[in-house]
Each structure stands twice: as C-alpha cells, then as structure tokens.
C-alpha cells in the first residue's frame, strides 16, 4: 500500500499557526535567492534573443563578439548534442533555437563575459542572418488550413484528419446520451469564450549559477520548483551522468508552475563547460515575459441544458488551447476538469491543442482548469439568470458528491464540494445587499491534486532535537508544515524540529513541487519516517529496560511500557533516548521513500462582489470570499495564504492580465507597467474560509491546497461583472475598454 488511511485523531501540533521558519531570513534580506549566488572567478552570461516570431536561422557569426576583451565563451544551438526523449528535446530547443526561431524572444546564442556590461556589448556583435517566415500568434488563425506551420511533424495520432498541421492533439471525455439530455432541457445556452495567455508573474526572475569542472563534474545553483527535475533535464541535455551534476535550489521568489522546467540552466552549464569558469545568468523581466512560460490562450464553446427547476440535463464543451510553439497536454487537464464540479448524466468535453508562434507554455496553478471552468461556470450562471434561480442553490442541486461518476471517468470518494457550497450559502457575504452598478458572482472550482515521488530523512539529534531533510523547494510554507507533522507524530514541540531542503546529492529523487503535492506527499513520507524512527527509539528503550520491544509503545513523545507484563518503568522521553543513542547502538534516524498516491481532489467556491463604472468600464472588486476544502489545514496561515494568493492571481487573470501581440508577431507588453497584475491597492481583503473534509488517503486527512484557489476567480469575477452590467461577458481579461464596448453594444442593441 503506497498510502496510509485516515484515522480521526486529536491534533496537538498540526493546525497551529506557528511562526514561519523562513520569516526572519526573508524580512532581513539574509535569504539567498537565485541571483544571490556568486563564485570566485565567476563570469556573467547573457542571451541573444530573436526579434522575429518565426524565422529560419541561416547563419550565426560570433567572430566579432569573441574578439571583444572579456568574452570567454559563446554557445549556440550547435553546441548541444542529440537527445532521444522528445519532451526533453523540446526543452533543449526552447532553451536554445537550432534551425528555426519559433517566437519573439527565442534564444539564438549566449555568451559568458567578465562582467555584465561586456556581455551586453558583446551580444550586439553577434551577427544572425534570418530568413523571416510567415508567423501565426493567434489560435484561431493557426487552425486555418493555410496557416503557417509552426513545427512540422508534431501531430499525434489522436487528431482527426483534415485539420491544420498546427493542431497537435485531440482528446475527448464524458459519458451518457447528450442528445437525449439536451432534449430533456427546458432551456439550452450555447456560448463561445476567449481567454488571453497570462504569465505566472512570480516576483523573482529566473537565475542560476553553473560551475563545470575540467573533469566533467558540475554544480548548479538555481531558483526552481524542482532541483531533481533540473538535474534530470540538464544531465540529459548536457550528456552527463546525473550523479556528476549536483543541483541546489535557492530560496524561491514565487513559481506557481512557471519554474517546473528550465530555460537558462543548460545554457549556463554549456557556457561554464566551454569557459572553464563558473557562469551566472539572471533573466531580466523582459526576458521572463518574452521567453518563459505563460499559460495557454484559449477559445471554447460551451453548451448546457437545464430544466426550469435547475437540474442540468446535458453539458458539452469544445476547448481549443494554444501552449505556444511546442505541443503541450494542458487541454487534456482542462477537458477533464471542465465539468468535474457537477453530477451529470450526459456530458462530453473535447479538447484540441494548437501550435502558435508564442513562447512554450509552462504550467500555471491547476494548469488547464481555470479557463475551462470559467467558460462552464459562466454558462451555468446565465442559465440561473434565465430561470431566475439562485446560483448557489442550482450548484447544490447539481453538485458532485460521494458516489458521483465524475465527468472524467472515476467515481468520486468522499469529497467536499457540497459542504463548501453550504458554507458559502450560510456566509453573511452571500446575503449582503448590493448597490447600483454592483454585481455578485459565484463560481465553483476543482483540481485533481496528486502525490508523486518523495524521499524524506528524519534524524534524531543527540540533544533531543530533530532534523528533517526533504527535497522539495518551499514555495508555500512546506518547511513549517513538514515540521508540524514531524512534531505531531513524534509528540514533541514544533520548535524542536527544523526542516531543510536538500540538494540532489544529499537525498533520493523528489518530484517537482507542483500538483499541490508537497504537504500531502512529503507530509506522508515525513509521518512514515517519524514512525520508523519511533520504532528504533522503542527498541532502544526496550533494551535499556530489558524487556521485549513489542512491549513498548510511543506516547506523548516518550517510550512507555505497554501491557500488563511489560513491567513498571517511567516514560523515557525522546530526548533521553537520543542522549543515550551513541551507547545504545548509534545515531537514530527514520527515512521513507515513496511514489505517493491517494491525493484527494479539492473543490472551492468563491463569491465576488464588483462595481463597474458604466462611463469607463473599469471594475473594482469590493468584496471577495474564498471557501475551500483543505482536508486538514496543517498550518492555517499558509492555507489561507494559498487561498488568497490564488484568488488574487485569478482576479488579475479575469480583469487585467494578457499577452498582447502585434501584427509583427512581437510581444507588445513585456513588463509589469504594461502587463498589469493586481497590487494590494487593487484588492479588497480576501476572506478565506477553510473547510476540513478529511482526505481518506492521508493519515492526517491532508489534501493539497495550492492550485484550486486560482480556478474559480475567472468566472466569479466575470459573472459579477455580467450581473453588474446586465451584459454577459465572454472574453477575458475584462479590461475597461472591453467592458465599455460590451455595455455600449448592449445599449445599442436595446435601443435598436
């Protein structure tokens, strides 16, 4: 069995709002982020990027750049060898173009120089001869039969014949008789929706420091969501053995999925290999926007039928996603998630991925789900308006629950959607009055969550403290949560435990910090590692007492005799056993390695109030409440932070954020001045309401919480704006010009 079952228990440590272990380092500036790493003799790397959206590279002349004093090495795509695995080949080609550049900002060459100024000057001396090719940056254009083909030969066998060569995959999910379902409906709404690509918007740009030695060993320091992923990918691209590459993850200034792949690390390694000196690369914000992963941009068509009393009879989604210039499977996740919140007898979702001349998509919190559920929840809201029904009541009537056959296939076990909806219905926010030009939107959200490969070592120190070593960068409070779970299991105070994140040479393989997996999977492994250490400590106590190890149990942080024949001995605490460990057999530790399954799915419900200025189209969010099932909130502050952060990012996605491409195929807004993320003054306090419906697949009932929070805001905001303006909105972002145009179109139609 790869996971433990949940057993109800009273917690002493888990659930407390203890001080965060990284807090002092971060507020004093002591924490080391990717760009803080330096090394003696270090060179500065810089990358030359394509000014064209699509072009063949005819030649690259680096001779003048090499002559510049201070330039120590230059690499191009020709320096990188063959890679067998297709997905890693795509990453390699995204890090450094080979024959063609596929988007504005695609890397074509890189150099290492003695200082950043020389590096920037030298970049201007590299001569690249391009044959500019027709480009296509919009999904709908890319699907046309005569569209420029972004990459040849990438169409999967799943794609029906007759489609553009840019359509690389097709998927379909669902069950039941759609036509019978629609025939049973009293009303059907069919709408088309569009969403813009958005960036994860992490504050810290990508940064790394690579040091390759003459005998082929290498060290790499970088900001990443997964140092083991970096090692695997870079070793494959560099033709190295994984054991010869040690990767250390820095503190991370946000990732949200965008740091689950590599962009500059193989380039820095290759430059260091050629120069024989450490090389550091730090991306500018413009580079982050132009060349790292935004999420997909999408078009979707949703059709839902409902009876007049609010029962959904049939639901259908056609989803078209573009993840940029390389194939991606995000639409599969969107198509599965689209109707996951509902108990449906007839449902079908179809998805197509389309190549465009844009950067390679990277994961972004619950990848694929927000844009699909935005469209579905918008149509459900419109149906509620049509029948004059309460949108929460309708969702309760149709909510997925234990025993529901999900829209993507499996039957749900215990899930928390109904409890979450009932909490929203009972909350004062839902009954609060609204003023003129104000509207209230609600939306459900869903994410799968998963576990994955995980290693944890837990050392009992001789002074009775505990060191936990885990291998996942802490992007959302995992060190505190892991320490809490170790303390809980061992029965000791939280402040006796310190959790650190290991480099790749110090611990076995760990999957990336993604999929809301860490508190679930690393927590599970920590609990198992603690239990392993407890077994050893009970054995040591038994030997000291001269009784059978089976006659000892662990209680409240101490070994105690168990059973009538065990004898009478006072409890022997963890600290006492640790103090004697050298004399009783040596250091004590527990460890656990697992590919964890049993992560429970997670649901959320958001309520959003907005006010729309009818003269300008500007939207202000007045009040926002998030309800989410956490299974068990190990550290409620962090859980609330995840819920609030997901909501804030989703509000930005709904209202402002978008990648804007010009007719020349170049990104028009690669900076935070023109790509507008919400800041504190844009947002009201976001109230989080945590629900705890235990996950039966985790010993403490934990579910992941990191991703679900970004799913509902798109529709919650759009539904609120639609109700405030009286116009159904169907395209994100809801920027003021777009909202104003919709209002004016509606007025013109009404007046006609």
């Amino acid at each position: 069995m790869s996971f433990d079952e949940y057993h109800r228990r009273e917690f002493r440590q888990v659930g407390r709002r203890v001080p965060r272990p990284d807090g002092v380092d971060k507020v004093t500036g002591r924490a080391l982020y990717g760009a803080d790493m330096t090394a003696p003799g270090m060179l500065w790397g810089a990358i030359l990027r394509s000014p064209h959206a699509h072009a063949r590279i005819r030649s690259i002349d680096v001779s003048e750049a090499l002559k510049l004093d201070g330039v120590k090495a230059i690499v191009t795509g020709a320096d990188f060898g063959e890679v067998e695995d297709e997905s890693i080949r795509d990453i390699r080609d995204n890090c450094m173009a080979r024959d063609k550049v596929l988007y504005d900002g695609h890397a074509v060459a890189a150099l290492a120089a003695s200082d950043p100024r020389v590096a920037r000057k030298a970049l201007k001396l590299i001569r690249v001869e391009y044959e500019v090719l027709p480009h296509v940056t919009e999904l709908e254009d890319a699907m046309k039969p005569d569209a420029p083909v972004v990459q040849e030969g990438r169409v999967q066998e799943t794609v029906p014949p007759g489609m553009s060569a840019n359509v690389t995959s097709y998927c379909e999910f669902g069950h039941g008789d759609l036509e019978a379902g629609f025939a049973a409906a009293d009303h059907i709404v069919e709408r088309e929706f569009r969403t813009a690509a958005t960036h994860q918007g992490y504050i810290e740009p990508h940064a790394c420091l690579a040091a390759v030695t003459a005998d082929g060993k290498a060290d790499l320091w970088c900001c990443t969501q997964g140092q083991y992923m970096v090692r695997s990918v870079c070793a494959a691209i560099m033709g190295m053995e994984a054991s010869q590459l040690r990767v250390t993850a820095s503190e991370i200034g946000g990732g949200f999925g965008g740091k689950t792949t590599v962009f500059i690390e193989p380039v820095a390694l290759m430059l260091s290999k050629k120069a024989g000196r450490p090389v550091k690369i730090v991306m500018s914000r413009e580079e982050v926007f132009r060349a790292t992963g935004p999420t997909v941009h999408s078009r979707s068509r949703i059709r839902i039928g409902m009876t007049r009393d609010g029962r959904i009879t049939a639901a259908e989604a056609r989803l078209y996603y573009s993840g940029g210039a390389f194939p991606c499977g995000t639409v599969e996740m969107g198509a599965q998630a689209a109707f996951a919140c509902y108990d449906l007898q007839a449902v079908r979702s179809q998805g197509w991925n389309v190549l465009t001349n844009r950067p390679k998509e990277a994961a972004y919190r619950a990848p694929g789900a927000p844009v699909a559920i935005y469209a579905v929840e918008s149509v459900v809201d419109e149906l509620c308006q049509h029948f004059g029904l309460d949108p929460l009541e309708v969702r309760l009537k149709n909510a997925a629950r234990k025993g529901t056959k999900s829209s993507y296939g499996p039957t749900f076990p215990d899930i928390g959607l109904v409890a979450t909806l009932e909490a929203a219905k009972a909350h004062p926010h839902y009954a609060a009055p609204l003023g003129p030009n104000q509207g209230r939107g609600i939306s459900c959200g869903f994410w799968f969550n998963f576990g994955g490969n995980t290693c944890v070592t837990l050392n009992i120190n001789p002074d009775g403290t505990v060191s936990v070593t885990e291998g996942n960068p802490d992007i959302g409070g995992s060190r505190a949560s892991i320490s809490l779970m170790a303390a809980e299991e061992l029965g000791i105070p939280y402040d006796r435990v310190r959790t650190i994140v290991a480099d790749t040479a110090s611990l076995g393989y760990n999957d990336v910090t993604d999929g809301s997996r860490v508190t679930f999977a690393v927590g599970l492994a920590t609990i198992k590692a603690a239990r392993a250490a407890i077994r050893v400590m009970c054995e040591r106590a038994a030997r000291i007492w001269g009784i059978d190890p089976e006659a000892v149990e662990w209680k409240d942080g101490a070994a105690v005799p168990a059973g009538p024949n065990a004898g009478k001995f006072p409890p022997m605490t963890l600290a006492e056993i640790a103090a004697n460990s050298f004399r009783t057999g040596g250091p004590i530790a527990g460890h656990h390695e697992v590919n964890a399954d049993g992560a429970g799915v997670s649901f959320g419900v958001h309520i959003c109030d907005v006010e729309v200025d009818p003269e300008t189209g500007a939207t202000r969010v007045l009040r926002y409440t998030v309800f989410q099932d956490a299974g068990k909130a190990v550290h409620p502050d962090y859980v609330e932070g995840q819920m609030q952060g997901g909501a804030a990012q989703g509000i930005g996605w709904a209202l402002n954020e978008e990648y804007i491409y010009g007719a020349d195929g170049r990104l028009q807004n690669p900076g935070f001045l023109d790509y507008r993320v919400p800041v504190a003054s844009d947002l009201p306090p976001i109230e989080p309401v945590i629900l705890e419906i235990p996950n039966p697949g985790h010993p403490y009932g934990v579910r992941g919480v990191g991703e679900t929070g970004i799913v509902p805001p798109l529709a919650a905001v759009s539904n609120a704006v639609s109700r405030a303006t009286g116009v159904r909105m169907t395209e994100l972002p809801l920027s003021p010009p777009r909202v104003l145009a919709a209002i004016r179109r509606s007025r013109a139609t009404d007046g006609a």
């Binding site: 066998e157 379909e172 619950a366 499996p410 993604d514 399954d597």
Partner: protein, 81 residues
C-alpha cells in the same frame, strides 16, 4: 478480467469501444495487456497514462493491485503547477 473505461478519443484505437476487458491484476499488467490487445493504444501509453482504481488515481504504480470488480479508468498522465 477487469473492465477498463477509456477516455473517448482512445476509441479509435479500440475499434470504437470505450470500455475494454483485460486479464490484468496490476497497473503494469493492465498496460501490457492493453497494448497487446490494442496496439493502437501504445503511443498514448508511451506518452503517459494514469489509472484510477476505485476512485483513487495512480500515476506510475506498476504493482498496484486491481481488486476484482474494481472500477478501473484509464486517464491521461496527470500534471500540475
């Protein structure tokens, strides 16, 4: 024999069926038998699949037992952010 529910777009590899029967006691046997019986499924299985057994999703657990009469659903390989 276990009944395995496929997602809809795989039906082109199974003669139009979205539910197939396989003699499999584990995740690994399920994948092996599926490719033997329906070679057209191999490209997708090579790209990656998950299997839901009685509602619990497994991503790579080759030796995960499949109980008799279990609900078994083949799914794309799960990825997250």
């Amino acid at each position: 024999m276990v009944k395995v529910l496929l997602w809809g777009s795989l039906r082109q590899a199974t003669g139009g069926r979205t539910e197939i029967e396989l003699d499999a006691r584990t995740f690994k046997e399920l994948l092996d038998r599926a490719v033997e019986a329906y070679p057209g499924l191999e490209p997708q299985i090579r790209r990656g699949v998950s299997v839901a057994i009685n509602g619990v999703i497994y991503r790579e657990a080759w030796f995960q037992p499949i109980p008799p009469d279990a609900e078994v659903v083949l799914m794309p390989y799960m990825t997250g952010g």
